[in-house]
Symmetry: C2
Subunit: 508 residues, 2 copies
């Protein structure tokens, strides 16, 4: 860093400390979800609130604003573009923080906590009506938040778009509608064709012992370069990946009775998230602790977890290589061979629950939620109409009717905490993963062949060279265009699914 | 809290936040020692330093000093004695903090870190000479620290005494000398008589499988009221107990090859620490987050861990009850019955290493260190003379000569970090445990009988009623006098040891 930029230097120290505080919060979160006894929850809540208040102060104070302004004033024509971009990203975030009325922030926090509690109840007793008022209030507050934030946006954005920015920077509903349209058009037909095909062998009626699942997860991670000196794996109620320090990466899994592949595939998924975090740029003054050293969007993050879960661990070549280990561990072969094992790893059946959905139907769950969020936030749909609208569209997209709202519009936690704009990232992850995979295959050959040859390290190297080092230098769509040479679209994902459906429906 | 004490109210909120920060630090410490990957260490160091700086600021700032002064000004004749004592303790700590030159604090932190590193090296290569300069510097800085702190002390104290205050408030070297004299006088003879007795059966040449040790530890804790909703047990390199929130208690153990009882007895020990923490008073305005809600001294803390380890888990009745479980788990009986098993739990052999010492020799290790600390800090003994002085006194007290300084004066980490005044608490723990046990037995009957009847809950109830709720209302010696009706002395401990040695030397 040039000596002539003292404010930049000071700003970097400020961001470094902010990162320390944020990572302390992450450590507490990890502890809470892996080992903290239940009675520790209220105190943990107070600890996290204290850190959140400190973080908010650091990111919105007058002193911090002065620091950013001073660093901006130091920018001259010779400033490297990375520095310019870092300051732009910090300025945007600062302006957003400062637009918000603290009273609204407090009201939102309270409404989120209330919404979560009421939702838990409503879901347990399948009583949407008890949740409706909380949801209405959350929508009202989020719209108010979007209104306050509008002034900070560099371009005109609708309320839903403003709320989606933290998850998917620069995304717009027009663009998402365009990206998702081919999914809604083609996937229901593909699902029907799968349903019409003859049944694919015996149902899974086996369990993998917990110790065996643990061992298979360890073997998987070891074969994918897991380094115990930088990583830690634990158990938690829900799998997650979490970065606790620049050289400290954690992932968690769980063993679910009745779902023998759940821990294994979740391990692949969370490891994909972690690899992206591990590969983010930290090497010079423009990256850590600056914004450019961060993940660029939830969609890109998800593309990396889905790559390892779906493109690798659910591939046919992977099934061939791992079938013997599962068979040996189990002491029998309920799949009747590697092809049956591959099919078992890829059940293609529409279901009501998003988090249990396969590659074929997952995006349709997202399309449904995206449409309903727009209806609720921007098209004046009363919350009372949500269950009926949900069920109608679920029937159209997936051919299913929830028997209860608990397995319908009450299934996800997101709306209960007023998180709108988050869902599309999950589907974008599938599209981005597929398009990046296409580019990867053009350069280093088919993923199936590399997996068959045991060369997953080549996949990792390619991602490490082409995807991860960009950080926030580019947004998600720019990243895809940079990596693949053309704008993101649903084509590669649909091509991949058509081929996979064809092979899975075949005779093996 | 009366409405007429607004400063007190504000001070309580201040202390509450200080507790939050301190417990965040504890959580990071727990994470670091149980799951953090090695590469996370430098960042974790930065996180802890940030929290330490915040804590220091909160405990020494002008604003905090004003708050304490304002709360003192609110005290009137009607103020409850607990409030008066809380403010006295806060004032004392504040005065100490404010006596210290920040430059010295920084120099000490650097010297501690340097001392630790040099000590690791010196111990590994058995080269005291390379450690000597670091030790000399640490002694110089600690003496300087004691000099700065002297003005804050409410009574005249020697440098060593000032340094011992954080561990054992109000302790004096005259009193410790008086307490320890009977130990140095009687224990060497007792040790000799044990050595002269015929060998007590076969050496342990068995290993307990890790899974079995884990299971036995779990059974032990379950039988002692372990509540998974408030407690968490993990593995770490060294066993410890740690309070992470007012309702969140952690203990750790380790499995050591060649030491089949290590995990089991360490679990008993750490659980004793945890029970004390769990039983500290939190019930009204005078306790948590005030000083009165804290542990009163390291010696009292140690007395509670030693009670469960030595008085309960090493008792003959306990051995009778648990021998079948160990035998069943192992599938054989290398002890030749419950008496042999009890003997195996109580090996009485002098050894060179403090942390491996038994009840009989442990205090002699402490007497040695106490005397040498006084020599180094107050009697001008040059650090070069430490190895020879150590070996000479070791021969006199324990009849052993270290072959190397690594198993002599370089064995402990304490001096490498300039911790002087800490060791006596370990021996005080034995004395306090024994004297409290005597009072307990007078009230509810012999521990052996209660353990034999499976009534360990009665032991816990008695401690919960008589020992734990005092917190810092009284210091260690006042606590003992309150609980047992007379001043602390070494009598009960020696009486207990004489009886135990007699029984262990018997034929079973």
């Amino acid at each position: 860093m040039p000596a002539a930029a003292p404010a930049l230097d000071q700003l970097q120290r400020h961001l470094h400390t902010t990162r320390l505080l944020g990572s302390i919060s992450s450590t507490l979160y990890y502890d809470q979800n892996t080992v903290m006894p239940a009675a520790g929850a209220p105190w943990r809540g107070e600890q996290l609130a204290l850190l959140a208040a400190q973080l908010h102060e650091r990111q919105s104070s007058e002193a911090y604003a002065d620091l950013v302004a001073a660093a901006e004033a130091e920018l001259d024509g010779d400033a490297p573009p990375q520095r310019r971009r870092n300051l732009q990203l910090l300025r945007l975030e600062l302006n957003r923080q400062r637009c918000l009325d603290p009273a609204l922030v407090t009201a939102l926090a309270r409404a989120q906590s209330h919404g979560n509690a009421v939702w838990q109840e409503a879901r347990a007793s399948n009583a949407f009506a008890t949740f409706a008022p909380a949801l209405r209030e959350l929508i009202r507050l989020r719209r108010e938040q979007a209104g306050q934030l509008a002034d900070a946006e560099p371009v005109a954005r609708s309320p839903w778009e403003i709320l989606a920015q933290p998850f998917e920077p620069d995304s717009s509903k027009a663009r998402l509608t365009e990206l998702f349209a081919p999914l809604a058009a083609e996937l229901p037909g593909l699902l029907e064709s799968v349903a019409a095909a003859p049944a694919s062998g015996p149902q899974e009626t086996f369990e993998l012992a917990e110790g065996l699942q643990e061992q298979l997860c360890s073997e998987l991670l070891d074969s994918w370069g897991y380094d115990a000196a930088r990583c830690q794996r634990s158990r938690s109620a829900h799998p997650f990946s979490c970065t606790v320090g620049p050289q400290d990466f954690r992932i968690t899994t769980r063993v679910v009775r009745g779902q023998p592949f759940s821990a294994f595939l979740a391990t692949a998924h969370e490891w994909g998230h972690s690899l992206y975090e591990q590969g983010l740029p930290r090497s010079d003054d423009h990256y850590f602790p600056w914004p450019l050293g961060e993940a660029t969007s939830m969609g890109v993050h998800e593309s990396q977890s889905l790559f390892w879960e779906c493109r690798v661990a659910r591939s046919r070549a992977f099934a061939e290589r791992w079938h013997p280990r599962f068979q040996r561990g189990l002491g029998s072969d309920p799949w009747g061979g590697a092809f049956g094992f591959w099919r078992a790893l890829n059940p293609l059946r529409p279901g009501l629950i998003r988090v249990e959905a396969d590659e074929l139907s997952y995006s349709l769950h997202i399309v449904l939620r995206f449409e309903l969020e727009l209806a609720l936030l921007e098209q004046g749909m009363p919350v009372e109409e949500l269950p009926a609208a949900w069920n109608r569209r679920m029937e159209e997209l997936l051919g299913l009717q929830p028997a209860t709202d608990a397995e319908g519009c009450l299934q996800d936690i997101h709306w209960a905490e007023g998180l709108f704009g988050y869902f599309p990232s999950y589907a974008l992850g599938h599209l981005i993963s597929a398009q990046i995979s296409e580019a990867l295959e053009q350069e280093i050959g088919p993923i199936e062949a590399l997996v068959a040859a045991g060369e997953t390290a080549a996949l990792q190297d390619w991602l490490a060279g082409n995807v991860w080092p960009h950080g926030r230098s580019v947004n998600a769509e720019e990243l895809v265009e940079r990596v693949t040479g053309r704008p993101l679209d649903a084509g590669p994902f649909l091509t991949y699914l058509r081929a996979k459906v064809g092979q899975l429906s075949g005779a093996g």
